[in-house]
Amino acid sequence: MTTAVFLIPLLPFLGFALTIFFGRRMPGNVGAAPAIATASISSVLSFATLFYVISGRAVDVSYPWFATGDYLVSIGVTADPLGALMLVVVSVVGLLVEIYSVGYMHGDTRFSRYFAYISLFVFSMYGLVLANSFFLLFIFWELVGICSYLLIGFWFEKKSAADAGKKAFITNRVGDFGFLIGVLMLASAAGTFQFKEVFHAAGSGQFTPAFLTVATIFLFGGAIGKSAQFPLHVWLPDAMEGPTPISALIHAATMVAAGVYMVARCFPLFSASPEASLVVATIGGITAIMAATIACTQFDIKRVLAYSTLSQLGYMMLGLGCGGYVAGMFHLMTHAFFKALLFLAAGSVIHAIHEQDIRQMGGLSKYMKVTSLTFLAACLAIAGVPPFSGFWSKDEILVAVRQSGNTTLYVLAVAGAALTAFYMFRLYFIVFAGGEKKKAHESPAVMSVPLAVLGVLAVCAGWVGLPWMKTNIVSFLTGSQAHGAVGAAVQAVHGATAQLQAHAGAAAQGVAGAVGEGAHAAHHGPDYAVMATSLLVVGAGILLAYATYMKGWVSREAFSKRLPLLYKLLYNKYYVDEIYQALIIGPLVKLTRGLSGFDLAVIDGAVNGTASVTVILSRAKRWFDLYVIDGLVNGVAWLTQLFGRVGRRVQSGYVQQYALMILIGFGAILIVKFLR
């Protein structure tokens, strides 16, 4: 089984390597073959792993990678219930997106390059899911980031696409800064990167509560970036510049899911710090409601979906922050299916009418049966209508929030649910119902079949979490990390150090305790009060959308006319981008220009100044030397010469002159004598 688990990420990497080096020689759709073939095998292996884990076993192995000082860094994989669930989500969505892309990207000049990147993306995400240490997690965390950069900016001839890719990566790097600090804090305090040992250290009280809070909040910084939480959410709506299947992938199974997954993976740390959990829940709540309000006002079909993703990710964080370990992961799974479906269906619409503005759409259900039906299923799922999948997972989150006793957050969550129902059906009614504006055609089977598969999942995926069942996702996931760690004790045959193995058993109990405690809240029967509330607000939201966009009982412009300021604020996404541009990016660019000027003028100026001063000094010395010192020397010579020249006149060699001089001399003596 260990080999199989290792193959899950390695196969897509092989697909990447083949396609990147030989893709340009592959004609037509053959460029997609390595990617899809490897992804298919990985999917089968992922399901095999899931069943292996369901049977109560787990994979957790580590091989030494390199040693440095006191650290022994290892490469390893862990497949526990949490990881196995995530593997299946990634593989299903990833494979369907790849198949769909064959149709969507048909004829693109960089067709094979696209599939190379997507394979690398899937590889990175698998690696992230299977990582069993902070070191590996960070590595794949960054690789996922670079893949999203490459794919969001895939159509780089468009400036907006190139900008969006860059923005995604840099915004994520800001979050990664926090993640890095968190990892450094934990690793240096625990002396290891291995999850098990770090969690064990946390569970056994090796860290002070304050330290744990600070470290986990730093860690969460990474999740804020990856999962596009406020205030680092700005990259995700722009990321729709990438090809639409990539949006589906990013929004559903890879990239943004990574942040939520990381928080779930580190749940023993978060649950040990109430303050950090509150931060997670609050950020999640803010994001959920903020994004939902924005989504109500947007006209770009992909942008509406992008904000709905933000909002749903906020929900997951909210759930995790309130101790809803299962709730967060459950919603991550159902969301992955219906959000992938929404984007792929939107892609099908865009593919058909080459238009993204919903004001130009209408009545499409007549032409696009599969697309509109599956889109409707996804809308019902995300809005939270029973028995569609989203209802069950959202219900878990609402229950968790309610049980946390934080009324503000509960109100936020319920309001978010109402808004979600409203904006999703606003979208559905405008695009698929009503009068037709453009003729369209259904997409080819290679695109509509993945839609249908996801449609089924959007309906049914939530049934694994029916609260009336004894054995469901709750029992599966909460048994989870205990399985993982116990399995480790058995399987860590190749374990890096003997010490590592010795810890494993003890770690198992500590971690299981921590998770069990956090997950305790999730072990409950159905909470009918919450269900009723949720049904009520969802119904109200759908009804309002129906009244406004189907029947016209409420004017579509009512909001923008009655509350123009609020509308403008929402329509412009709370001006967050503008604020960042004015307060951070603009000043930073100025600062860099200023500093390079400073470097040239002041630092280098000082160097050149020193040189110039030396030159001036040496010139002055030269002058002094030339005119004063050498002047003295020459002056002496000149005087001597002068005397010589005068004296020379005397020595003329003419006898008459000598006689005259004798005469003058004689006369002079006489005069002197006479005058006395």
Binding site: F66, A67, G69, I146, E157, F177, T592, G594, G597, A606
Partner: protein
């Protein structure tokens, strides 16, 4: 008799220089071929060195020792340990690549290659010398060929840059010379033996600090440490491509190598006192260098300032003195050598075609030059610390090792990774993304010769990123023993 591998690695290029000088200057092809062969043989011997080196022990290996000037106790004394062996290999590798990368030189080919080979001998000599006198001879011998290589084959402001480089470095050399003499005269019997001094470290703390500062001035200029860094952008920009590669890849490493080899073992007390100050300089280098790099419009200057920033990580690792941090620093020296070396080669490639280096003047090149774009992107990703590539492991290890010692400084330094990502991605966008431009249509993509110089460096970058033990294994035991010695563990 055992083969004197170290002497061979060091002096084969010198033999090559003499052979080249004896050849006719008409026959440029023969000159290039001869240079390649001699540099190549030196490289092969450096590989032999790596293979035969015993990585488990931190002691000096391949030691050769012979009396040279007995009257003043000067020895021909060479050897390698974990600090120097990777640098010897890096020097041989980058020199070999640079010789091939220099085939485009058209002017005074014979002189160029003769000087280059002379430079290679001097550089290798610095890394293998274990006698101060010998060390200083090599250290100074580097200057002269470098001066001419920049001053004759450089860009428009070559004379200014060459003189600046020469004088600046000479200033540092004088300080080093004074320190060496002071050490010589304050030991009895007078000795130039670096190994011996490192074992006995016989100087009083006060004298240590003076010696440390004098040496540091010399080394800091080479690294370069802020504010002694301004010779670097000028020298890099004006130097011909291959010389920029050598400057960034090898010469900058001599500063930090000097601290590892001389300052730390011989002056441990001063080193401990100076470490916090060094850490502050490190963070200035990292953040300031990155910010200034972001503000550059000339591609070569941008890469030059990125070197200032990246060498800051080496200083940070040095300052922290933990084994992991110092491993990170050593690995960063190696990684920076191959990554920035390839970046300068790549800058040369585009300059040869476009005859300018204005980042904003490019655009859309990804369509016209796909292979070039791929390799340039890989090198930029490596430089910004993408996992899976060599730079990441080095930076990460430095952070991990330094964090327990300097928490705040590491946190500020980590801001550097955000800025670095910013300027590299911005550069990639301005050069390669966007609409292709008419004026760059028909540019040929990388030639076979360019690929020969670039691909090995890329392969090594990826390989070290995936399997860093390849390099760390060489340095780990030396770093552990140095760290234990410094921290008195």
């Amino acid at each position: 008799m055992e083969l004197p591998v170290l002497s061979l690695v060091t002096f084969i290029p010198l033999v090559g220089a003499i052979v080249v000088l004896l050849m006719s200057s008409e026959n440029e092809k023969a000159v290039k071929a001869t240079s390649t062969v001699f540099s190549g043989i030196s490289f092969v011997f450096s590989v032999v060195l790596m293979v035969a080196y015993n990585r488990a022990i931190p002691d000096f290996q391949f030691v050769e020792r012979a009396s040279w000037i007995p009257q003043i106790n000067v020895w021909y004394y060479v050897g390698v340990d974990g600090i120097s062996i990777t640098m010897v290999f890096l020097t041989a590798l980058l020199s070999f690549m640079s010789v091939i990368g220099s085939f485009g030189i058209k002017d005074r080919v014979k002189q160029y290659f003769a000087l280059f080979l002379l430079l290679q001998t001097a550089m290798t000599g610095v890394f293998v010398a274990l006698d101060f006198f010998l060390f200083y001879v090599f250290w100074e011998a580097m200057l002269v060929p470098m001066y001419f290589l920049i001053g004759i084959w450089g860009g428009p402001r070559r004379e200014y840059a060459a003189i600046k480089f020469f004088l600046y470095t000479l200033l540092g050399s004088v300080a080093i010379l004074l320190a060496i003499l002071a050490m010589y005269f304050s030991t009895t019997p007078h000795t130039f033996d670096i190994v011996e001094l490192g074992k006995t470290h016989p100087f009083a703390p006060g004298l240590q600090m003076i010696l440390f500062l004098a040496l540091f001035l010399g080394f800091a200029i080479k690294v370069p440490v802020f504010p002694f860094h301004t010779w670097l952008p000028d020298a890099h920009v004006e130097a011909p491509t291959a010389i920029s590669v050598i400057l960034a890849g090898v010469l900058l490493k001599m500063g930090t190598y000097g601290i590892f080899r001389i300052s730390y073992p011989i002056l441990p007390d001063a080193a401990r006192d100076f470490a916090p100050f060094l850490a502050v300089l490190a963070v200035i280098n990292i953040v300031y260098g990155a910010l200034v790099a972001m503000g550059q419009k000339d591609l070569k200057k941008l890469v030059a300032y990125s070197s200032v920033s990246h060498m800051g990580y080496v200083l940070l690792g040095l300052a922290a003195m933990t084994p992991t941090a110092m491993n990170g620093a050593m690995l960063q020296m190696f990684a920076h050598g191959i990554i920035t070396g390839s970046l300068f080669l790549l800058v040369g490639v585009i300059y040869d075609r476009a005859h300018h280096r204005d980042i904003d003047g490019f655009g859309g090149l990804a369509v016209q030059l796909p292979i070039y774009t791929g390799i340039m992107s890989l090198a930029c990703f490596a430089s910004l610390g993408l996992p899976g590539l060599a730079g990441f492991i080095a930076e990460f290890m430095t952070f991990v090792g330094a964090f327990p010692v300097f928490k705040t400084i590491v946190m500020i330094s980590a801001v550097g990774i955000v800025i670095t990502a910013g300027y590299f991605l911005w550069t990639l966008q301005r050069m390669f993304l966007g609409k292709p431009q008419e004026k760059y249509a028909g540019f040929p993509d990388l030639s076979a010769r360019e690929l020969v110089t670039l691909v090995p460096l890329q392969v090594l970058t990826v390989f070290i990123g995936v399997y860093p033990w390849l390099i760390i294994d060489f340095m780990n035991s030396s770093m552990e023993s140095l760290s234990h010695f410094l921290r008195g563990v």
